[in-house]
C-alpha cells in the first residue's frame, strides 16, 4: 500500500523519534509498566506506523465492503442501509413468562429474538426428568414439547421476526418445534428465518452441554444443513460459536482460531457427505464474544472475516455468500462484576462499541445485574438502550469499518490471522478438531489461559475495576428478577396433560420410524418433525437418539 522509499524514510525517522523524543521522556517519566500486553499476552508497541503494515496490499488483503475478502464488512453499505439486529438473549421460567419478556423487549425496540433454554432443555430432558431437579427455568426457559413452543411464541409473528435459539445437542428437535409451530399456523417454511446454534464441537471444547459422541453429533449437524438447504432457505442452520470458548477462559486469539477451525471442520464433514459447498455454506453463521480489550476485539472480527473468506475459497466455494462471514456478538458475561454492578453498564457499552466497529450483524448487550442473577426488566432495557445510543447517537454506524487503515488495527488484524494459522497447524497435527478434542488439546489450552489470567488478577498485574482496585465497602443494592414460584408446577401439569391427551399410537409409530432412520443413514430431520407434530416431548425424541447414538463422557482436565 505504501511506496517502499516512503516506508524506508518513515522507518528511519521513527528510529530518530525513538532516540530523540521517546526514550528521553521514558527515562524521565518511566512508563506505567515494562511490557504492555493485550488480553492474548501479545506485546503492544508504543507506536504503530506505516512501517508495521508495509507488506499490506490494499486490494488483496482488504478490498471493499461486501467484496472478497470481506475485511471491511459483509455488506456494501454496512450500517448505512440496515443496522445490526438488536437481539437480546432471554428466557426463564415457563414459556408464558418468557413470552411476556419477549413482548416487553419488542415493545422497547428490540429487532430480533433470541431464546435461552434452561439446562434440562439444553440436555434434551423434559422438566419431569429426575436430572432436571432444581434446574427448571433457572437459566433459561423450559421447552419440553411443541405445546411449550406454541406458548413461547404466542402472538409473536414468526413469519416476520427472526429468532435465534441457543440449542446444541438437541438442536434438530428444538428446531423442529419451531418449524412445526409455524407449520400449524400455515406459514410456509420458506418464510421463516432465524438461527439454531447447533455447534456441537464447541460443546466438547467449552460450553459442555453435549449429549452424543462427536461422530453422531456431526451427522445430526449435517442432517440439519441438508434439510435447511432444501426446505428453509432463510434459516441459519448453525452458529459456529467462539463466545463460549472465550467465556471458558480462552484468549481472543484462541477464540478466533478454535472457532474458525470448528467452522472448517463442519464444512469438510458436509462435503464428505456429498453436499455441494455452495448449497449449505451461505447459511453458516458465527457468534463471537466482545471482551474488554477494545482494539483486539475489533481486529479479531476483521481477521475472522478474512480467514473465513480465504479458507472457503480454498475449499472450493464459488458463491460470494459462501465466503462471507456473518456473525452475532454478545458482550462478555465473564467480564461482568458482582461488585458495583452498575459499572457493568459502562463495560458493556464499550464492548458493544467494539462489536459495532468490528462489523457485527447482530448484537446482544449483557445486563448489569448478570453476575448476580438473570436480568431484571429494567436492567435489560438499559442494555438495549445502550445499543440504541450507539446506533442513533454516536455516528459509529455512518461508515463501513471506521478503523480500517489504522496502523495499529491493521497490524493487529494481520498478527491475529498469523497466530490463528499457527493454531490451525497444531490442530492439523492431531489429525483435526475431533481428535484434538479427544486428546484434550483445546480444553488444556483454555484452562492454561484462564488460570494465567486469574493469577494476574490475584497479583494485581491485571486490574478489574471494583474487584481488585477501586473497591467499595457497601452492600449491593439492586433489584433482582423474581420468577413465578408456581412455574414448575404449571409446567409439570402441562406435561402430564400432554402425555394423556395425545394420540399415543401415532406417537409410537413416529418414534420408531425415527429410531430406524437414526440407525440407518437417512436424514433424521423429517422423522424428527413427524415425532414433534405428534407431540412427542423433547425427552422422548432425544431419548430415542440417546439409545441409538450413546452418550459422551468427557475427560476432566484442570
Amino acid at each position: 500500500m505504501y511506496d517502499s522509499d516512503k516506508v524506508r524514510e518513515i522507518a528511519k525517522r521513527r528510529k530518530e523519534w525513538e532516540s530523540g523524543s521517546y526514550r528521553p521522556v521514558c527515562e524521565k517519566v518511566p512508563e506505567r509498566c515494562e511490557r504492555f500486553e493485550n488480553l492474548s499476552w501479545t506485546e503492544i508497541s508504543p507506536l504503530y506506523t506505516a512501517e508495521d503494515v508495509a507488506g499490506f496490499n490494499y486490494l488483496k488483503d482488504s478490498g471493499f465492503p461486501g467484496e472478497y475478502p470481506y475485511l471491511r464488512g459483509v455488506h456494501p453499505t454496512m450500517y448505512r442501509g440496515k443496522t445490526w439486529t438488536m437481539r437480546q438473549f432471554a428466557g426463564f421460567g415457563t414459556a408464558e413468562e418468557t413470552n411476556r419478556r419477549y413482548k416487553y423487549l419488542l415493545e422497547h425496540g428490540e429487532t430480533g429474538l433470541s431464546v435461552a433454554f434452561d439446562y434440562p432443555t439444553l440436555y434434551g430432558y423434559d422438566t419431569d426428568h429426575p436430572l432436571a431437579r432444581g434446574e427448571f427455568g433457572k437459566c433459561g426457559v423450559a421447552i419440553s414439547s411443541l405445546k411449550d413452543m406454541e406458548l413461547l411464541f404466542k402472538d409473536i409473528p414468526v413469519g416476520k421476526i427472526t429468532t435465534s435459539m441457543t440449542i446444541n445437542g438437541p438442536a434438530p428437535i428444538v428446531w423442529a418445534f419451531y418449524i412445526a409451530n409455524a407449520d400449524n399456523q400455515g406459514i410456509p417454511r420458506t418464510r421463516i428465518g432465524g438461527t439454531i446454534q447447533n455447534d456441537v464441537l464447541k460443546e466438547y471444547i467449552a460450553q459442555k452441554s453435549f449429549i452424543f459422541p462427536p461422530e453422531p453429533s456431526m451427522r445430526l449437524t449435517v442432517d440439519t444443513f441438508e434439510f435447511g438447504a432444501r426446505e428453509l432457505p432463510r434459516w441459519n442452520t448453525i452458529s459456529i460459536s467462539g463466545y463460549h470458548i472465550r467465556e471458558a477462559g480462552s484468549t481472543a486469539v484462541q477464540e478466533l482460531a478454535f472457532t474458525l477451525a470448528d467452522g472448517f471442520e463442519y464444512v469438510k464433514a458436509a462435503m464428505a457427505r456429498g453436499l455441494n459447498i455452495d448449497d449449505f455454506a451461505p447459511r453458516l453463521s458465527f457468534f463471537f464474544n466482545a471482551h474488554n480489550d477494545f482494539f483486539e476485539e475489533i481486529a479479531k472480527y476483521r481477521a475472522a472475516r478474512r480467514i473465513w473468506a480465504r479458507g472457503m475459497k480454498e475449499l472450493g466455494a464459488k458463491k460470494e455468500r459462501s465466503m462471507l462471514m456473518r456473525f452475532h456478538t454478545q458482550t462478555a458475561g465473564v467480564s461482568l462484576t458482582a461488585q458495583q454492578p452498575e459499572i457493568n453498564l459502562v463495560r458493556v457499552a464499550l464492548q458493544a462499541m467494539a462489536a459495532v466497529l468490528g462489523g457485527t450483524q447482530s448484537l446482544h448487550t449483557n445486563s448489569m445485574d448478570e453476575a448476580l442473577a438473570l436480568p431484571s426488566e429494567k436492567a435489560v432495557r438499559l442494555a438495549l438502550r445502550t445499543q440504541q445510543i450507539i446506533e442513533e447517537e454516536t455516528g459509529a454506524a455512518s461508515t463501513a469499518d471506521p478503523l480500517g487503515g489504522s496502523y495499529y488495527v491493521e497490524w493487529l488484524t494481520d498478527r491475529m490471522e498469523e497466530e490463528a494459522n499457527r493454531y490451525f497447524d497444531r490442530i492439523e497435527q492431531f489429525g483435526g478438531v475431533v481428535p484434538a478434542i479427544e486428546r484434550g488439546f483445546f480444553q488444556r489450552e483454555i484452562a492454561e489461559a484462564s488460570y494465567r489470567f486469574q493469577q494476574e488478577v490475584e497479583s494485581g498485574k491485571r486490574t478489574i475495576v471494583g474487584v481488585n482496585k477501586y473497591k467499595l465497602d457497601e452492600e449491593v443494592e439492586i433489584p433482582l428478577l423474581k420468577m413465578d414460584e408456581k412455574g414448575e408446577e404449571i409446567q409439570l401439569e402441562r406435561l402430564k396433560r400432554l402425555r394423556a391427551d395425545r394420540d399415543n399410537d401415532k406417537l409410537m409409530r413416529a418414534l420408531s420410524a425415527l429410531r430406524k432412520a437414526a440407525e440407518g443413514d437417512e436424514n433424521t430431520m423429517p422423522y424428527i418433525l413427524d415425532c414433534v407434530h405428534a407431540y412427542a416431548t423433547l425427552g422422548e425424541t432425544c431419548g430415542v437418539l440417546r439409545e441409538v447414538f450413546g452418550e459422551y463422557r468427557e475427560p476432566s482436565i484442570f
Binding site: Y119, L131, S209, E247, A371, L374, A447, L480, E554
Partner: protein, 131 residues
C-alpha cells in the same frame, strides 16, 4: 509428615460452566492441597460417593445455573445421612446475597461469589477444615 488437606471439587447438576471450578481446583492444588475434580454433571449421590471413596476433608461445589438452593442442599443432606457431616462443604457461583444465609444454615459453611480472591478460599479452607 502432616497429611495434606484433601479436597473434592465437584460440579453438581447439569451446569456446564467449569472455568471457576477448574481455576479454584488448580489454585488449591498449587497451595499444597490434594485435589480431585469430579468433572461435570454429578448427582448428589455421585458426589457423596466420591467424597467417601477419596476420604476427603473438604467438598467444594461450583454451580452457576441458579440451582444451588436445591442441589447444594441435596449434597449436605446426603452427607449428613451418611454420617459425614465432619466434611467441610464450601460452594461458589452466581449466588444472590439473599441465598447465602440459608445455604450456610444448610451446612455450606463458606459461600463464595464472583470476584472472590483465590487466597480467601484457600485461607477459609485452611482455617475451617477439621483437625
Amino acid at each position: 509428615m502432616e497429611r495434606k488437606i484433601r479436597v473434592l471439587v465437584a460440579k453438581p447438576g447439569l451446569d456446564g460452566h467449569d472455568r471457576g471450578a477448574k481455576v479454584v481446583a488448580r489454585a488449591l492444588r498449587d497451595s499444597g492441597m490434594e485435589v480431585i475434580y469430579t468433572g461435570l454433571h454429578q448427582t448428589a449421590e455421585m458426589i457423596v460417593n466420591s467424597a467417601l471413596q477419596e476420604d476427603v476433608d473438604v467438598v467444594g461445589l461450583s454451580l452457576l445455573s441458579g440451582a444451588h438452593m436445591t442441589l447444594f442442599r441435596d449434597v449436605t443432606d446426603l452427607l449428613k445421612e451418611k454420617g459425614m457431616d465432619d466434611v467441610l462443604v464450601v460452594g461458589g457461583g452466581i449466588i444472590p446475597e439473599e441465598d447465602v444465609t440459608p445455604l450456610k444454615e444448610a451446612g455450606i459453611r463458606g459461600v463464595f461469589g464472583p470476584g472472590t480472591p483465590l487466597e480467601d478460599i484457600i485461607e477459609f479452607i485452611k482455617g475451617n477444615v477439621k483437625g
